[in-house]
Symmetry: C2
Subunit: 205 residues, 2 copies
């Protein structure tokens, strides 16, 4: 076995990602992670302080992967949703980790990189709205969130619902995500225009 701190960290993060995706933070077993990483339990504590620290590293890694890998074309927002849904389909551990993080770490401060990325993409949406490319019925960041939500359709739906739907064809799934995103952002459904700019500060509270 080569001695290489960086490579070992990498293996631990990868093994942690798989373990956390499968069992969550509480359910993850430090011994299993060490074994899969072909390393040793003590290394986890050496490099990441504790189990929570390893999860932080996994989470950080995941956020960067998604942020870096997701292109953005304001003139084809449904395409963005489809792209992200492809990522989810190709890496099924991502949606699981996202859900675990929400449930077990929902109170954590927001991730800096993810937040910065969301803000910048939101700004791009806002620009698109000003140019008339995107409906301005929704707040720009809501548009972003809706895209993310549409992308998550197949991976976040309950197993029971999935079983009843029984759509297994990948291409059909992509079509549906695209249609869903397209429809959501179309001007059709909303009769009256949005009331005067409630944007960053909600009307009440």
């Amino acid at each position: 076995m080569q001695r290489d701190a960086e490579a070992t960290k990498r293996r631990l993060i990868d093994a942690g990602r798989a373990e956390f995706a499968a069992h969550g933070i509480t359910g993850a077993r430090v011994d299993r992670i060490a074994e899969v990483a072909q390393s040793n339990k003590a290394q986890i504590y050496h490099y990441f302080k504790n189990k929570a620290g390893l999860f932080d590293a996994v989470w950080d890694d995941l956020c960067r992967q998604i942020v870096d890998g997701l292109p953005f074309d304001v003139s084809d927002l449904p395409g963005v949703a489809v792209q992200l849904s492809d990522v989810y389909a190709d890496y099924p551990e991502l949606p699981r980790l996202i859900l675990w993080q929400r449930l077990e770490r929902g109170e954590d401060p927001p991730h800096a990189v993810a937040t910065a990325d969301l803000l910048s993409r939101g700004a791009a949406v806002a620009a698109g709205q000003r140019r008339g490319l995107v409906t301005d019925w929704y707040e720009p960041h809501v548009v972003m969130a809706m895209l993310l939500h549409a992308a998550a359709f197949w991976e976040f739906s309950s197993p029971d619902v999935m079983a009843v739907m029984d759509v297994r064809d990948r291409e059909r799934r992509r079509e549906i995500v695209r249609a869903m995103a397209t429809g959501m952002l179309a001007e059709s459904g909303q009769a009256e225009p949005r009331q005067a700019e409630p944007r960053q500060a909600g009307p009440e509270r």
Copy 2:
């Protein structure tokens, strides 16, 4: 303390619901449940066999609550989504339990009552499609799933996304859910009609 088996079971299920919603199945502590229920640990094993059995009871209870509480008007499907989103907003433990169930019990056989309900509502959607009330671009059960998904928007989105969106006004949230569902089901976005009936058996596999 009165002796009342039914009431004790009820208290255990309620306490279990809160505990499981907060910490998941693995993270739930049997001692805490017993304490909150003002009962005893051994009672859980007496009535529900084990921790997993108590979760089953909680899950069953939850499924029935949602199924029974959700009305259905085929001529106003977005309204159904809004209603469900209201339920989620009023009982925040529901979305959490649903996510925990997906993550920790995704391999369980589907819940009979929930499945039957989904099938029957799906059939109603199909009838609506035949009468031209509902777009037939999507398979009827996909329409159902899309409604459920739209309803889950505010409760299933990641905390980071929620923080960036920062929409706190409840009425605005409801509007957005309605608009999202309305748009998704509008005919606008989908250029070509759906290819010949892939419905229950997908084209491939």
